[in-house]
Symmetry: C3
Subunit: 184 residues, 3 copies
């Protein structure tokens, strides 16, 4: 993949109210601000707002992968309520789940609030029939919690994107140091 084109990153806000315009989307801009802070590689953000409907969330995750996003972050829909289905949609489109992401994000959130265990957030890889895969990472709904979770797992994200044949991502090392094992 050419290093000249900016890396494409999908930002998905899952919210009934935001999708109807009843509520300002604060999660999408918060995710975009984190990525701008963490990444030194230029990137193009593809933003989507969808209601809490599993088929619609699945469709947008697939569409963003086909658009060339190797990393997709979502906000909202990870709780225990009936309409919280972002995790179900993620599991439905991912051939591989990555349990370490959810474990670590809950662990860092647990240092802040005991209700962190109510978040079912996960990460996984969606491989389309052809072409590179997309790492999908579920983030919480609250803008403050978005940053806490994303910064915790971000050091592993550039290498993960390498392994699924995505673009070479570099970070602002004063904020996040990406880790890549030394070539043998």
């Amino acid at each position: 993949m050419s290093n000249d084109a900016p890396a494409k990153i999908g930002l998905v806000t899952v919210s009934d109210r935001a999708s109807r315009g009843e509520y300002e989307d604060r999660g999408g801009p918060a995710m975009k601000a984190c990525l701008a802070e963490f990444l030194s590689t230029p990137f193009e953000a593809l933003s989507r707002i969808v209601p809490d409907e599993q088929p619609l969330i699945e469709a947008v995750l697939k569409e963003l992968t086909l658009q060339g996003c190797s990393l997709i972050v979502t906000t909202g829909g990870t709780g225990p309520a009936r309409r919280d289905v972002t995790v179900e949609a993620t599991e439905a489109v991912c051939q591989k789940m990555m349990p370490g992401f959810g474990e670590l994000m809950r662990q860092v959130s647990l240092e802040k609030v005991p209700t962190a265990i109510l978040s079912r957030q996960e990460a996984g890889i969606h491989f389309p029939e052809e072409g590179p895969g997309a790492l999908i990472v579920n983030l919480p709904g609250s803008p403050k919690a978005i940053r806490e979770c994303l910064i915790a797992v971000f050091p592993a994200i550039p290498y993960c994107v390498d392994l699924i044949e995505g673009p070479y991502l570099e970070t602002n090392e004063d904020v996040v140091v990406a880790f890549r094992p030394k070539k043998k």
Copy 2:
């Protein structure tokens, strides 16, 4: 839901020997004692003893939900042996699993015994076709381990029960402080 009626809580002891009366059920009373210690809200305990048979465990979890239990705790049947099927029954009736509960309970148990990793205990939400859901939490078999695990996750339980439209639970704050995010 009226705050006047006591909250209903299901207590399920899963044990072949206890169900045949060959063995005194110690897990059920231990769970009840914990709830009496942790909760200031009056509650009615619905106690059941079932053998290690997956269909019977599933049936009792559904029955207790239909009886109005918004919280069901189980003891026994979480190990690696062939007949340990409480986790399988829980997964079969729950539409949503909550991995953070099992992760945290194993983590606190691991501070006591290295065999904590052999416990497959989980939590999840069973939603019946109509009406409020039930949070089901698998606890270990040993009475001492029951308290250690339940007190670790209890701060998140009242808010979880709120989110699935159950009764408003309050705790004895000198023992367990329930956490609820501030209304925005």
Copy 3:
């Protein structure tokens, strides 16, 4: 099971290149060296090298169980890439997954490298139609990481093997102390 015959332990290296002989298998010998260091019980190692093909990995896990292995350790194939399918093969043959193993192994690896969350390694029990089950533990590909992960979970392995009716394993207590709960 007689204590006179050595315990059988399966060692499975999953690697396309090692299976074609293009690459020396370093994971298999590293796992064997760990077991020789940790166990005082005599054991017979049954070593296998298979390519990253899910049906072939499943077949070798079943074959080793039928050969009498109550413990099988694997190396390789736990990452996020398309051809990393050791975890999928393990899940396909195991009736019971043991999430505590993966959680703990990722946690100890995370103290070394932030990319530990990219490892999807798990453990589970494969029960054949008849006879004792086998505990299958996925380990990373790197020899150094193999020891770090295996020593973290090893204190729980002998008791787990007891619970699935395998041989009584004893450890070199200056390296690893096996924990067994006291009989009641």
